[in-house]
Symmetry: C2
Subunit: 256 residues, 2 copies
């Protein structure tokens, strides 16, 4: 039971923490116990107020916790719906600058190699998450730390309507998707990345100054806008020893 003694200054021995956290735990346990099955509606705020003898503030603060760990969805006018029995574990990646997502420092620079249209074939389409036959614009470039230190070979695929940004490749240190964001007013709402090992092809090996077939870290990044449409895909190949991709994930237990 939540229901704490109404106004007894020193008699609240049973309570460990804030009331709304207590209530959140109770509701969480009830969801796990199928008292409110997934897909059904939870009691309204007012019903919870009456049942636990607490104010709406307490109820809303408790429900906020359930929102944060993805167990319920709420909609004004509609109500609170249970969407998951177990709280989804959330790890948060904090970035002070968007460059950290790319993990390249400001000093690195891109050097444009080629820029041409390509039609997606059966091999390319799944990588770009596009359809076979679609036309995209392919930009090949090399990222350098300084004059003689190539970090990686990058193939950038953008939609034909954005191919004009190829002109800015060399001039700016900004990542390509940031250029698209600024030039065309698109915002990257979702980024999916695939990382795997591979062997470098002969042509790229020469440009990167390593032997053909030597190990590389391949990173495929797909940038999606608000509607889920992919507007850029980049495929980077990093010869072994030149690049480490690091992630730091914090478990999202407490807000403050």
């Amino acid at each position: 039971m939540v229901k704490r003694a109404p106004k007894s200054p020193t008699t609240s021995k049973t309570a460990k923490g804030p009331l709304y956290l207590e209530l959140a735990e109770v509701l969480q346990r009830e969801i796990e116990a199928d008292t409110y099955p997934v897909g059904t509606r939870m009691p309204t705020e007012l019903e919870l107020c009456n049942r636990f003898n607490v104010s709406r503030f307490t109820v809303r603060e408790a429900l906020r916790r359930l929102i944060d760990n993805g167990m319920v969805l709420r909609r004004q006018g509609s109500g609170t719906v249970v969407v998951s029995k177990n709280p989804t574990i959330m790890f948060v990646q904090k970035l002070n600058s968007i460059e950290e997502l790319l993990q390249y420092s400001f000093e690195t620079q891109l050097q444009l190699k080629t820029s041409a249209s390509v039609v997606l074939d059966a091999a390319l389409a799944p990588i770009i998450s596009g359809e076979v036959g679609e036309t995209w614009h392919k930009i090949e470039a090399i990222r350098y730390l300084d004059e003689k230190s190539p970090i990686c070979w990058t193939d950038v695929y953008v939609r034909p309507e954005h191919k004009s940004l190829a002109d800015q490749i060399g001039k700016d240190t900004k990542p390509v998707f940031m250029v698209i964001e600024k030039e065309f007013g698109i915002v990257a709402e979702e980024v999916t990345m695939d990382l795997f090992a591979g062997s470098i092809t002969e042509s790229k090996a020469w440009a990167m100054g390593v032997e053909a077939g030597s190990p590389t870290l391949i990173i495929v990044r797909r940038y999606k806008d608000k509607t889920g449409r992919v507007f850029e895909v980049s495929v980077s190949e990093h010869p072994a020893g030149r690049f480490t991709f690091s992630i730091d994930l914090l478990r999202n237990t407490k807000r403050d």
Copy 2:
């Protein structure tokens, strides 16, 4: 200015959204403009209430946004301190099960190879983020999808007091750090991962069924507890073509 008309039902034309969001933007701009420099204290809640003619609810809800994007820290009794001029961009990785962090399915299984104590040398210490001379327990194992399909070679380093979990390696499909969490009551609050390409050593190549020197994806995972102490480090080597590491990051713009 925030200060909206007190009580005019249809006259709130100027306002775009909720008042607390308006206030949050104002405060955010003021922080960016060095009105409240990093390291200094912001006005108190009451001061902001008076200045903008809003209630404490509105102020607190606005400040909550600044907390969420990492611009301020607040402490009861102390006040609100600015810690960053630019809002930290946050990408959230949602996981329904902790296995998704490891990216191995339930069907995979670990097969124990060796289990012995090691003393950290100059090469190993930085990887484990420990001190040279420290004693750790090293467990070598191979992860299989089925009988004849090895996915990766894994070296697991745990603290000596936890070496007893080596017995459970084969019996359980659970990740090692989950076993530690359950057995010893530790919770992984932070996980840092490094991914890079390398060449497989001869001894491991034989076990994995590939040629010596062939490309591998190497993943170093460090699990830290609440105090920041590393309690497990795993080094996994995945021969090229057998494993892809995927991340899906959502930009954390809105809470609800």
